[in-house]
């Protein structure tokens, strides 16, 4: 049994210790907002926060995050920054297919939690690991700025 703290809830999961956190979230806990895209930390669709830091859950063995604070997209609206990011995303209709957007939003929340006034270059650096095949990048940049403005 591995003990997990996900979105403030405690779980004991019976899975192989090498199982990536991604599949535990999705298949075991039913938190399907976190997506599978590549399995090799190349696309960022699986981004979650571990102790507030963005991390690729597809290459994070579940045993490595036992007892640490894991936050997923399902938890995003519980913080002021998360709410601001989601609202900005909605206001600008950033999404297209939407599959990568959980990861984009989790990376954006992490950025704005550290840097309340990011430049375009800051945004590009923080989100360069999050691929969007629909290439919604123009709006992602604009939405991060809009969220920053609303938090100011």
């Amino acid at each position: 049994m591995i003990r997990l703290n996900v979105n403030g809830k405690l779980h004991a999961v019976d899975v192989a210790p090498d199982t990536p956190l991604l599949w535990v979230l999705r298949d075991t806990l039913g938190l399907t907002g976190t997506k599978y895209g590549c399995g090799q930390a190349l696309c960022g669709a699986c981004t979650v926060h571990v102790d507030g830091v963005p991390q690729r859950s597809c290459t994070t063995p579940v045993s490595a995050v036992a007892g640490r604070k894991i936050a997923t997209i399902e938890n995003a609206d519980r913080s002021r920054v998360g709410k601001a990011v989601q609202e900005a995303w909605r206001k600008l209709d950033v999404v297209q297919c939407g599959y990568c957007q959980s990861g984009q939003i989790m990376s954006a929340i992490a950025l704005l939690s550290q840097n309340r006034k990011p430049t375009d270059a800051d945004i590009d650096t923080a989100l360069a690991g999050n691929l969007c095949r629909c290439a919604t990048y123009v709006r992602i940049r604009a939405a991060v700025h809009l969220a920053a403005k609303s938090l100011a």
Binding site: T32, G37, L42, C43, E74, Q101, S102, A135, R139
Partner: protein, 729 residues
């Protein structure tokens, strides 16, 4: 809408319209006479596309797949406009698979999404559907209030009678409206009265796609469901000779290992166990009939074929005479690689067998074809294949597979495992990238004849590449005299007035790499070769690229319209601000029509001394008829710029000895945010019927960038993706 017949069939009225338009109007199963204001579960379903609940909910049934292109929002907007619904209360639901009611009107009897047809084929249909429902609500209100229908107004989901200051919400009239006859004729709005079309109707899927609640196929979890991961052959055409499942079966969570026509499937209680099981398999492949050529060998063969004339796709005037009399001849050739769609959600499908038939969960793009394929596998009737429509995490053409490849694979696993448990087939990224069905590799060669005055008198264009449509159900419709229409689209219908023109095609049939439409299909390569070559012609003739195009587009006002707009908005003709020392900057333009929409783009690039390329800005001008959702048009074109730029900078699937080299995003990089240029999208006002916008933003991007590179460096890339080495100072 005259000559309609209404026939009552088990509480459903089927109404047949004219001109191939078949609308099925179903009346509610329960329409008990309810006292006004009394809460009931009654709903008003005036037709196949709309449901109004007594709780005031307005649900638009979308017959097309939402894969990111905004189709749910667009379809909802059209219907809600004529219904005069309150956009905030409109919800969208995916239609079931039922081609009798939900066929794509441009595809005859088949239901499906593709070719940027969703808005174009639904425009009249959903306007009629919305207007009929509105008329029935008005009739019901007139009857209840005992007033003339002409005195009644409708706005934002409220039906009012201003003289008596009475009003009712849609939900309060739902039960009464359900008893009204479907009107034989309805009057549609004048465009000047539109309140949603052409205005801002926010996307309907933004909330659930930003909180993790949107449901994709990957997210489906059914009771007792098993997850299948498959060992696929290393080369196209290879088959299983034998396999050892011993180690796989010892992996905790693995339930079964079965052989299927496309490989060996491992079924497990969860995805990770299935993957571990698949990785533990030992499979001996029979590669005696496998395809073993590499990309370079295929390309060499195509170049050889291009030395000989092909089948004529288009001919005008006499090109031989034009070239014999030419003062100057310009020649170039272009090579295009195989490209993977690489949607963020790898292909997947859930299938459950039941006593009634089979049930599918999928981001479904070709309903009718997939129903037939599954019916064949399970010995069912197509209508026994029920399809639950889900969002697709991208497709770009991949989920519209006429061979139903991944859907069939899921079904074969269900069948081989005895149909006991529902199965979710999960392709890992490598399975998805190596499964084929690529944009075909193409070789183009072009020649232009100029007379002594620099006038373009002759044009020869030869294309070599595999056919997408031969052997598919679309062959009869779109392959004529051996010419696959989508191999030469954009080339055979070149818009430029050139007196002597010949376009011919070689279609190799011995290359066993599966190919498919990839966002913008043939135009993904023909726009490049024609538009980059035209810039070479302009250079040879000493003419400005925009001026030459306008001169040759005399009778093509929509091409000229977007070209002029893009040129104006980009500051064409004004000097570009210089870049950092040592860099070279350039501006390039391209224009292309695809799917009856017209797009021109101007790209500004900076090329560093080491050849590194940065696209700084792209200005787009679009004519897609009436822009139903202008913000979505902008969004699609912005995205198309990024999608096309990914291919121009990085996109290449290569084969070595028949095996696909790339497997993940390290070998096949997509565009990253730091590579995304600034994008401006300008929409040309239009009163023409809406045409597509999912694809038409893609074709002009790569040629506009190549022409900008040409302007900066004098080198016009002849091979995609662009080579940094070739652009060194």
């Amino acid at each position: 809408m005259s000559a309609m017949t209404i026939e009552n069939a088990s509480r459903r009225n089927f109404l047949q319209g004219v001109a191939g338009l078949t609308l099925s109007f179903c009346l509610p199963a329960v329409a008990a006479p309810a006292a006004a204001g009394k809460a009931t579960t009654v709903s008003f379903e005036p037709n196949a596309f709309l449901r109004i609940g007594s709780d005031n909910s307005v649900t638009v049934i979308a017959k097309h797949l939402e894969m990111g292109q905004g189709t749910y929002t667009g379809l909802g907007t059209i219907l809600a406009e004529e219904l005069d619904a309150d956009w905030k209360t409109v919800r969208i639901a995916g239609a079931p698979a039922d081609a009798a009611r939900y066929n794509n009107l441009f595809w005859g009897p088949a239901q499906g999404t593709g070719g940027s047809t969703a808005m174009a084929n639904s425009w009249d249909q959903l306007r009629q559907a919305g207007a009929s429902a509105r008329a029935m609500l008005v009739s019901a209100a007139a009857r209840r209030w005992k007033v003339a229908a002409s005195e009644i107004t409708v706005r934002d989901g409220i039906v009012s009678h201003p003289p008596s200051r009475r009003s009712l919400r849609f939900g309060e009239l739902a039960a009464d409206a359900a008893r009204e006859a479907v009107p034989a004729n309805v009057v549609l709005k004048e465009p000047k009265d539109f309140r949603l079309v052409g205005k801002h109707a926010p996307r309907k899927d933004s909330t659930e796609k930003t909180n993790g609640k949107a449901v994709f196929t990957q997210d489906i979890q059914l009771p007792g469901m098993l997850v299948a991961v498959v060992a696929h052959p290393p080369r196209f055409g290879a088959t299983v000779k034998s396999f050892d499942a011993g180690a796989a079966k010892r992996v905790k969570g693995v339930v079964d290992v079965v052989q299927i026509p496309s490989g060996v499937a491992v079924l497990a209680t969860d995805t990770w166990s299935a993957k571990k099981g698949r990785d533990a398999l030992t499979v001996d492949w029979d590669e005696s009939r496998a395809f073993k050529l590499g990309s370079e060998e295929i390309l060499a063969r195509y170049r050889e074929m291009a030395q000989q004339p092909g089948l004529v796709a288009h001919q005008a005037g006499n090109t031989d005479q034009a070239f014999a009399a030419a003062a100057k001849v310009v020649k170039a050739s272009y090579d295009f690689p195989y490209l993977a769609h690489a949607a963020m959600e790898p292909m997947n499908c859930v299938i459950r067998l039941s006593a009634e038939g089979c049930e599918v969960w999928n981001g479904e793009q070709l309903h009718t074809g997939d129903q037939h394929q599954l019916a064949g596998i399970f010995g069912l009737k197509p209508e026994q294949v029920k399809i639950n429509m889900l969002y697709a995490g991208g497709s770009f053409g991949r989920r519209a597979n006429t061979k139903s490849d991944y859907v069939v694979e899921a079904a074969q696993i269900v069948k081989a495992s005895g149909g006991k448990a529902p199965v979710k087939l999960v392709w890992l990224r490598e399975d998805d990238m190596r499964a084929g069905y690529y944009r075909p590799l193409f070789h183009h060669s072009l020649e232009a004849a100029l007379d002594a005055n620099g006038k373009l008198t002759g044009w020869r264009h030869r294309l070599v590449g595999q056919s997408i449509l031969m052997g598919s159900p679309f062959e009869a419709m779109m392959v004529k005299n051996g010419i696959d229409g989508v191999s030469v689209e954009g080339a055979a219908n070149l818009p430029y007035a050139i007196p002597n023109l010949r376009v011919d095609l070689h279609t190799p049939t011995d290359i066993a790499v599966p190919v498919l439409w990839w966002r913008s299909v043939g135009s993904s390569h023909t726009a490049y070769s024609t538009e980059v070559f035209l810039d070479l012609v302009a250079k040879a003739a000493g003419k400005d690229p925009v001026a030459l195009r306008l001169e040759l587009l005399g009778d093509k006002p929509r091409h000229s319209g977007v070209l002029r707009l893009a040129a104006e908005k980009s500051g064409w003709g004004t000097p570009l601000p210089p870049g950092a020392p040592g860099t070279r900057r350039g501006r390039g333009i391209a224009v292309h029509e695809s799917f009856h929409s017209y797009v021109a783009q101007v790209a500004e690039v900076t090329v560093a001394a080491d050849g590194t390329l940065k696209v700084d800005r792209v200005v787009c001008a679009v004519d897609c008829g009436i822009a139903i959702n202008p913000d979505n048009v902008r969004s699609q074109v912005e995205g198309a710029v990024g999608f096309a730029l990914a291919a121009a900078l990085h996109g290449e699937i290569t084969l070595k000895g028949g095996a696909v080299v790339q497997g993940n995003f390290d070998g096949y990089p997509l565009l990253r945010i730091d590579e995304m240029p600034r994008v401006e999208v300008h929409i040309l006002p239009s009163a023409a019927k809406p045409t597509g916008i999912g694809e038409p933003g893609v074709p002009p991007l790569a040629p506009a960038v190549a022409n900008a590179i040409g302007a900066a460096t004098g080198k016009y890339p002849g091979r995609l993706p662009f080579s940094t080495a070739e652009l060194r100072a």
